[in-house]
Structure formats: structure tokens, C-alpha cells
């Protein structure tokens, strides 16, 4: 047993830190810190900076232009980025489609699409969920019917994150209705400019527009846009779910969030002293901090096992649940910490304008971020789904 990083890992961490100090534009970090939604330009700028350094695709093999990091290095990079308030890497092309194309795509697809992901030509979004198929992907209804050299796609996708910035969408579609539900699904690449693709915003309860609905009406997709075999979509979807869920625990985000919470608790005054010194609030912070210390180690245990070649398994379900519990607890405490300031809610959802929040700078995002992050225990397989996975695959119940 050795809890500390190796000398190589520490050298890598220091390199990442130096890079972030030198290259992360302060105005981007400031936007991340204040929980302002980044523009498309912002994301593209950060992607380009990373790509220039060869660090945009940390998980890709070098042959495809990636950094080919092991699990520990990836973890170090993600954690340092979170602590430095770097913008997140948009995962749809880099962490999802890329690995799928490497595993299931043709040489032609790899040669065409992978470089365009790295250089920012394509912004991909994800077309998995449907209004009637949330946690239950097998019941999806979007159909793709073969018509000569094309599939004709009809249906509706939802929860399409940052679809408003995307020019491409990868979709699960039903290509065979006469087999059992999982068997008739295919994985299709669609150009958002194709006639019949319509995107509509979904405003969330914190007032942000992050996710969208995508309507597909008689959309003609060339057959060469099929990834893998026809009706192999379920296999691809499962591959993605088990192999490409990086940073599922969100330790770096939680650590950054806890530090911000402590700053607020020191700044807020309650009963003549800093809120941080109120024993009840201090106890709330201490409890979540101790939990985070333990989860960080659980996370490292899983990462070390992955780096040693173990297949990721049910541990990701455990990390998903505990990770969301801790992050949501920190968001909840941040909301509590700002006290009456949280009553002000200058949100686009309510007003349609961008009024500024009264009170100190830290007060504005507290309630909206708390509300927004209720989503993390719902999406990516809700915590209820994860508990079912643990009970069945790990506990044999």
C-alpha cells in the first residue's frame, strides 16, 4: 500500500499545474469560478489551447493524436483542471464518440472524424435520451428506415447538452422493430445541417439553457454514417457506459466547491462572528469534508485498479452515487451559507433579462447552482438505477 503518487506522477502533476498557471486564460477561470455559462467561443478557445499542448485527448492513443495517459494521469489532469477552475472539456466528441470510432468505426470514419474532433471543426452532441426513454434506453422510438443509400430518420431526442453549439449529433436509432427491444438499435452520425433536424432549447429550473430537444423529421442520413454493424447500437452504448465514464466521482469539482464554500462561510457573519465558527455550520462542513476525504481515496482505489488493468465495473455505480451525494451536499451548504441573499433569483427562467444579483459576488450563483446540480443524481443513469446495478451485479440480490 502506498497512498502517495509516484515521482513520475508528481512530476506530471507539477507539469499540469505549470501549464494551467501559464496557459489558462484568467477570464475563463473567472467565468467558471462564478458559475457563468461559457460561450461556444470560450470552450473552443480552451480546447485549442489544450490541443496545442497535445492534452485535449488525454485518453486517446498517441496514434490518433491523443496523450495516451493512464488512469492515474487522467485523474491528475482532471483534478488539477477542476481546482484551477478550468473550463470542462466537452466530452461528446473526445470521451464518447472518439473511443467508439476507434473501437467500432471504419478506417475511413476514423480518418475523417477524429482529426476534426481535435481541431474543433466538429462539435458533437449526444442523441440518446428520448421523452419516453429516460433511464430505460431499450424503449427508444426514433426510427431509421433504409432507403437506398440513406437511412430516413424520424423521432425526437432530448436532454441534448450544448446541442445549440453542435454541428453534429450521434444518435441511437431503432433499425429493427421485430426483434427484442435491445437488439434492433443502431448508432448513427447525423449532420445537424441536414434538412429535417430542428433543435429547440430546454430551459432548466435555474434559468440556464444547457440542454435541448432535437426533432428529426424525414432526415436523410447516408449509410456510411452508420457506426459498426446495423443493430449493434446496444453493444456500442454499453461499451460507452462502462468504459468511458471518467471522472465520475467528481472529486476535483467537489474539492473546488468545498474550498469555495469555506471562503463564503468565513466571509458571512452570523451572530457577530464568521459563519464558519458557528458550531452547527462548522459541523455540516466538517461532515462533508470527512466524507470527501474518504471518497477521494475510494476514487483513487478504483483508478489504481484501472491503471493496473482491472476492468471498470460496479465501482463506477458506487462512485456515481457517493460523488453526487457529496457534490450536492456541498451545493446545498453553499445555498445555506449565503442566507437571505438566496432569496434574490435574477434568472432568465423567471425574467428573461439578466439582472445582476444583489449582495456579495459569491451570493448570486448559490441557489441557481444548487438547483442546477440536482440533475447530477438523475442523468447518466439515475442514482436509483445505480443502486439496482449494485444490488444485482455486486450483491447478487
Amino acid at each position: 500500500m502506498d497512498l502517495s503518487y509516484s515521482a513520475e506522477d508528481i512530476a506530471f502533476r507539477d507539469e499540469v499545474r505549470r501549464f494551467l498557471r501559464d496557459k489558462l486564460p484568467p477570464e475563463l477561470a473567472q467565468k467558471v469560478r462564478s458559475h457563468t455559462l461559457l460561450s461556444k467561443d470560450n470552450f473552443e478557445r480552451w480546447h485549442a489551447i489544450l490541443n496545442e499542448r497535445g492534452w485535449l485527448a488525454g485518453n486517446w492513443p498517441k496514434a490518433f493524436g491523443g496523450a495516451e495517459w493512464n488512469a492515474v494521469q487522467r485523474h491528475i489532469f482532471e483534478e488539477e483542471c477542476a481546482l484551477a477552475d478550468a473550463p470542462r472539456i466537452i466530452p461528446f466528441g473526445l470521451h464518447m464518440l472518439g473511443p467508439v470510432l476507434m473501437k467500432f468505426g471504419t478506417k475511413a470514419q476514423q480518418d475523417h472524424y477524429l482529426p476534426r474532433i481535435l481541431d474543433g471543426t466538429d462539435w458533437w452532441c449526444q442523441g440518446y435520451s428520448e421523452p419516453e426513454a429516460g433511464s430505460d434506453l431499450a424503449s427508444l422510438r426514433t426510427t431509421a428506415v433504409r432507403d437506398g443509400d440513406h437511412y430516413v430518420v424520424n423521432g425526437q431526442k432530448t436532454w441534448t447538452t450544448l446541442g445549440q453549439y453542435a454541428n453534429k449529433i450521434f444518435c441511437l436509432v431503432r433499425t429493427d422493430s421485430n426483434v427484442k427491444p435491445q437488439a434492433g438499435i443502431s448508432f448513427l452520425l447525423i449532420d445537424m445541417d441536414t434538412p429535417g433536424v430542428e433543435i429547440r432549447p430546454i430551459v432548466l429550473i435555474d434559468g440556464t439553457h444547457e440542454v435541448n430537444e432535437v426533432f428529426l423529421t424525414d432526415v436523410r442520413v447516408p449509410v456510411e454514417n452508420l457506426v459498426g454493424e446495423e443493430n449493434q447500437g446496444w453493444t456500442i452504448a454499453k461499451y460507452l457506459l462502462t468504459h468511458e465514464r471518467t471522472n465520475i466521482a467528481g472529486v476535483g469539482f467537489a474539492t473546488a466547491g468545498l474550498a469555495a464554500l469555506k471562503r463564503i462561510a468565513r466571509a458571512e457573519r452570523a451572530g457577530g462572528r464568521p459563519l464558519a465558527e458557528n458550531p452547527h455550520f462548522a459541523a455540516r462542513i466538517a461532515r462533508v469534508e470527512m466524507d470527501l476525504m474518504a471518497m477521494a481515496t475510494t476514487n483513487l482505489r478504483v483508478i489504481a485498479a484501472a491503471a493496473a488493468g482491472a476492468a471498470p465495473g460496479v465501482e463506477s455505480s458506487m462512485l456515481k452515487i457517493k460523488g453526487t451525494q457529496i457534490r450536492q451536499a456541498i451545493n446545498d451548504l453553499t445555498r445555506r451559507a449565503v442566507g437571505p441573499w438566496a432569496m434574490a433569483f435574477p434568472s432568465e427562467a423567471v425574467e428573461g433579462t439578466n439582472l445582476s444579483h444583489p449582495g456579495p459576488d459569491y451570493a448570486g450563483p448559490a441557489a441557481p447552482v444548487y438547483l442546477n446540480y440536482r440533475k447530477i443524481s438523475i442523468y447518466g443513469g439515475s442514482n436509483e438505477i445505480q443502486r439496482g446495478i449494485i444490488a444485482k451485479t455486486m450483491l447478487g440480490l
Binding site: 429516460g134 451572530g271 432569496m343 434574490a344 441557489a367 436509483e384
Partner: protein
């Protein structure tokens, strides 16, 4: 011992529920007697007791109404305490919509008043004044030569400026600054603190009853969704894990209802006894509202995260409960202090 509503209160609740369903505004609510129900006969109303308040606000919460009744009742109650009979009459008939400007920035839940009045003018800053934007009269607390006193201020007067944003609870909140603004001293020369204590206790009851009504609506909405939404080929409400969580939720809502009854029944008690129930009730309702908001979102799943679904504003309203009149921990500390003292 009798936990049933009087015939009058039941009738008011029923007609209020019906009217709110059709989308009542301020003047319709005033016409219906909603404001009258918040004042005693001596004050010109026909209610004013703890259960009158509880009945009215449970219905307003159930309907998700953002009509500024709570603030008018709070400020209007102070006007009544100050014997401003004519103003109270206009509050009850809906002509005057007052709001109470009391909290000040940076004080958190401890209302330390630093605003100052001298002669006919007032200076200072007030914070998070709910419904001030739609008010046509402000009741303002400030220090003058007699200590803490109450003042009537026209919100449109010179020297009064409002900065208004939407509120987490629905409606609006304002920051208000008074810069030599004209103010009229109201009420007796001493005892304003005592008046404010009682009216804030009544307003806390109103907020808790409002939350209770909101929780009832959220519960029904969640049950409807559980019964109709299908996943894996069956209604999600048939999954036992969700059933048990829903059962726990309704048990907690019943606890919150009992807490509201406790406070309603002790609103007229001695100050210490009243304060004990204010804090116990606010703590429990705050805790429960938080739980109901989070669980209802989680049990719904993704759709609850969208602004176009009706749950969002109600969940925000429930979360906002903890941010007004003292949060869970603040009231727990107060409860401990009161128990230790007694």
C-alpha cells in the same frame, strides 16, 4: 380538543381554493376577504387568529399564488398595532398594498436595525424586502430618539430607491435605500420591538402554512407522475424503492402539518411559549420543505429539471422557505436557547 376547522374557515378555504384555481389576482383576493381574514374584528377584519392565517396561506401555497398577501398582512398588522385604522381599512379592501422593510444587508437572520430617522426623514438601507415593488406603502423600521420605531414611507417619494429582482419564492424582492426620504412616524413611542416580534411570528406561521400547501401540491403532482410515467414497461410508482420513499415523504408532510397546527395554536400564547413554537415549526417546515423539494425532483427524474414543467417554481418556493425569517439552524439554536432559559 378539536382539530376540525370552524364552518367559516372551511367555507373561506373552499371558496379561496376555487377562486385561486381560476387564477385570482390581488383585487379578487381582497374582494373575497382574504385580507380581512388576517385581521381581528377589533382591527376591522373577521379573523386574525392562528388558524385563520394557517387556512388562508395553506390555500395560497397550494395554488402557488404569488399575490403579496403575506407581506400585506405583515405590514398591515403593524399598521393595525399602530392604530392606523384608516390605512388598515384600505389594506383590507385592497386599495393599499403595504410591505414591511425591516431586514438590512449583511445581517443574515439577525434583524439589527441601523437605519435612522430624525424629524420627518429616514436614512438607511433595507434588504430582501419581498413584494416592495408592487407595494404602494412601506412600513419601515428605524432607530430614532425613542429607539426602534416604525415609519410609513411612500415608495414613490424622493429619496427612496428600489432595486428589484425576481425572488426564489416567486414574486419579487427589493433592496431599498432611503436617502433623506420623507417618513411619517407611526405607533407608540415604545414597544415597537414587541409589535414586530408578534407580527413576524404570525408571518412565519403564514410562510410555514404556505409551504405546507405547496408541499401538498408537490406531493399530488409527484404521485400523479409516479402513477402514469412508465419505465421498463410499468408505472414507476410500482417500484417498491420509490413507494417507500414516497411513504416517508408523506409521513414528514404530516409532521409539518402538525408543526403548523402547533404554531397556529400557540400564536396567542405568552412570548416565550410562542417563540418556542415559532422555532420548532420553522425548523421542521424548513427541513421538510427541503426534503420534499429534493425528493420530488429526484422521483420525477429529468422532467422536473425543466422550467416548462410546473414543479420547478414550486420546488424553488419550498427551498426559499429556509431563506426567510431564519433558517433551520438559526431556529434550532433559538429553540435550544429558549429551552435552556425556561
Amino acid at each position: 380538543m378539536d382539530f376540525s376547522l370552524t364552518e367559516e374557515r372551511r367555507m373561506l378555504a373552499d371558496s379561496l381554493r376555487g377562486t385561486l384555481k381560476r387564477g385570482a389576482d390581488w383585487s379578487q383576493l381582497a374582494e373575497l376577504g382574504v385580507l380581512g381574514a388576517l385581521f381581528t374584528e377589533d382591527e376591522g377584519g373577521f379573523g386574525g387568529g392562528g388558524f385563520d392565517i394557517a387556512v388562508v396561506f395553506e390555500e395560497l401555497g397550494r395554488a402557488g399564488s404569488t399575490a403579496p398577501i403575506l407581506d400585506a398582512g405583515l405590514a398591515g398588522g403593524l399598521l393595525a398595532d399602530c392604530c392606523e385604522t384608516a390605512l388598515v381599512e384600505r389594506v383590507i379592501d385592497g386599495t393599499t398594498r403595504p410591505a414591511f422593510a425591516h431586514d438590512e444587508p449583511g445581517n443574515r437572520y439577525d434583524a439589527t436595525v441601523r437605519s435612522r430617522a430624525s424629524g420627518d426623514t429616514i436614512n438607511g438601507a433595507k434588504s430582501m424586502v419581498v413584494s416592495a415593488e408592487v407595494a404602494n406603502l412601506l412600513v419601515v423600521s428605524a432607530q430614532d430618539q425613542d429607539g426602534l420605531s416604525l415609519f410609513a414611507v411612500e415608495p414613490g417619494a424622493k429619496g427612496v430607491s428600489l432595486r428589484t429582482v425576481p425572488a426564489l419564492s416567486g414574486g419579487q424582492v427589493s433592496e431599498i435605500t432611503f436617502d433623506n426620504a420623507p417618513a411619517r412616524r407611526i405607533g407608540p413611542s415604545t414597544g415597537a420591538a414587541r409589535l414586530i416580534e408578534y407580527r413576524l411570528a404570525a408571518a412565519t406561521l403564514a410562510l410555514c402554512a404556505d409551504a405546507l400547501g405547496t408541499m401538498e401540491t408537490v406531493k399530488e403532482m409527484t404521485l400523479d407522475y409516479l402513477r402514469t410515467r412508465k419505465q421498463f414497461g410499468r408505472p414507476i410508482g410500482s417500484f417498491q424503492a420509490l413507494q417507500h420513499r414516497m411513504a416517508d415523504l408523506v409521513i414528514e408532510i404530516e409532521q409539518a402539518r402538525s408543526a403548523v397546527i402547533n404554531l397556529a395554536g400557540h400564536l396567542g400564547a405568552q412570548p416565550e411559549q410562542r417563540a418556542l413554537h415559532v422555532s420548532a415549526t420553522k425548523n421542521i417546515v424548513g427541513r421538510t420543505a427541503h426534503l420534499v423539494a429534493e425528493e420530488s425532483i429526484q422521483l420525477h427524474g429529468g422532467i422536473a429539471m425543466t422550467e416548462s414543467y410546473a414543479l420547478g417554481p414550486l420546488a424553488r418556493r419550498l427551498i426559499a422557505v429556509d431563506h426567510r425569517f431564519g433558517d433551520e439552524d438559526w431556529h434550532m439554536e433559538r429553540f435550544i436557547a429558549l429551552r435552556t432559559a425556561s
